[in-house]
């Protein structure tokens, strides 16, 4: 087993009478890419929400880089290096592409009120540096995006919005990236392209761990080191793609295949 980055043990979340997560254990090692699959309503997004402080578990705990983060609110989790994207894109469409990316590194910005008044020269240099960082990151994903920093995010196409959202998560240099169905609303070709671009970022950041929720099995097969299958908030099975895809329980629950 690789060095533990994230350890979730016995996570349970209830919404009224529904057990959205039911004693889930999940281990993520440094630099690992994990595919999280399961039918709709199996608790995948709830798991992300629990990790990132949007939902608090009734039971169980989450440790991240050796620290208990179970009860931390969203912004504290963000500070510790977990970044995420959302299934329904959550870019702030009225803000510019650059402002959206700056949100991703809001914690490390130094353009406060005083800097604006007394240190405008330094501010301009640091802003230009941040713009350059933003352009460099966007360049991994698209040739045209780096030139569109000042346009409102709402003016971008679906795939470009998705790319910007991924960059917003990446720009803070997180240790763990949670991708919630990045292919939603995109064509298979666009998804494949996004995954390839992501791989090239990952190649330069070997320590970056990724958990990916995805319905497209080809995507899962091509990028993940390990697959975890959820069903009714529980771990149905875990292993390499080929192990998981051969598992009869998985074939019944997820792929909808009856044993012949």
């Amino acid at each position: 087993m690789s060095t533990a980055l994230l350890d979730a043990t016995g996570l349970s979340v209830r919404f009224g009478g529904v057990r959205a997560l039911d004693g889930l254990d999940l281990h993520v090692g440094e630099g690992e890419v994990i595919g999280l699959i399961g039918p709709n309503g199996s608790g995948k997004t709830t798991f992300f929400n629990t990790l990132t402080g949007f939902v608090f578990p009734a039971d169980g705990r989450v440790t991240f880089a050796g620290e208990d983060i179970t009860a931390l609110p969203a912004r504290e989790v963000a500070k510790r290096g977990i970044a995420r994207t959302f299934q329904r894109l959550r870019l702030l469409l009225e803000l510019s592409v650059f402002d959206n990316l700056m949100l991703g590194q809001h914690l490390s910005l130094d353009h406060g009120v005083w800097a604006n008044i007394v240190a405008r020269g330094g501010l301009r240099r640091s802003l230009e540096k941040q713009r350059e960082t933003a352009r460099a990151l966007l360049r991994y994903f698209s040739d045209s995006l780096p030139d569109r920093l000042s346009e409102p995010a709402g003016s971008l196409t679906m795939i470009d919005r998705r790319r910007v959202e991924v960059c917003r998560a990446l720009i803070r240099d997180p240790k763990l990236l949670l991708l919630d169905e990045p292919s939603a609303g995109m064509t298979p070709d666009e998804t494949r392209e996004l995954m390839q671009d992501l791989q090239s970022v990952k190649a330069e950041r070997p320590a970056l761990a990724v958990v990916l929720i995805e319905h497209d099995m080809e995507v899962i097969e091509s990028v993940s080191h390990r697959c975890v299958v959820l069903d009714y908030g529980r771990k149905l099975c875990e292993g390499s793609y080929s192990e998981v895809s051969q598992d009869p329980a998985v074939r019944r629950a997820y792929l909808g295949v009856e044993d012949e």
Binding site: F54, R75, L92, L103, H106, H111, V113, G154
Partner: protein, 307 residues
Amino acid sequence: MDLALLAQHALNGAMLGVIYALVAVGFTLFFGVLDVIKFSHGDVVMLGAFTGLATSIGLSSAFGSVPPWIAVIVITLTAVAAMALVGALMAKFLVLPLHKAPTLNVLLITLMAGTVIRESVRLFYPQGSNPKPFPRLLPDGAVNLGRLTLRFDSAILLAIGVIAIVGVHLLITRTRLGLAIRAVAQDPETASAMGIPFQATVLATFALGSGLAALAGVVNGLYYSEVNFSMGLLLGAIGFSAAVIGGLGNVYGAILGGFIFAALQTIGAVALPIASAYKDVFAFGAVIALMAWKPAGLLAERSAERV
């Protein structure tokens, strides 16, 4: 009507517009970050003006005669700082605890808070029910440009107001706090996922809006040389109308709305020369007509696209 008179009216209108815009920006900021209407805002304007008045009395009793420009600066800063604190405290103890409650409850509780502020000033400020003279601290003179008279005090107040409005614009668009305010206004959940502290941003927004209200109160006092405990009622109604005309949630809409309302009042006063006392009736009537024409306001907050 000749040009000089027209320019004179435009100048007076601009002066009022600046005051209204400062009040309206508060309404729109509060609505932006929390989707609430804070009906005590007009009374915070009044409390700011009285804080300024009390500070000036305190200054002259402690130090004798103080150079007027120092007095203006001290009065303004004290009033702005005090109201910023009041605004943050109200957000912390009245508005945020009701965050998950229906917005009507916030409306009610701030309406009550406004009444408490107003009646407290009336009861506890010495002879608070009478109008109070506000010290004339700005130079008296005027320059005559042809037949247009430009009073120094109006020019200075206009400049203070315009600087404040430009300052708000820079704060919102250029600073980390501004980015946090815009992000929380659009989507508080995403903002917190990005590491933006929700409560601190809300408190800072209420401090900012209330500080601007105090500035509006002091400018109003310096302009009319008089303040009274009920001045916040009309200013609150005007500021709220201006924010709604411009499109609640949009800072530039609120500024535009403030100037539009002032223009309507001025037009009312000029067009109804025998009945200029009806200028407010004319202006509010026009607001009703505007609302019928553009129910979402002139620069409506674009509703978030759903994908």
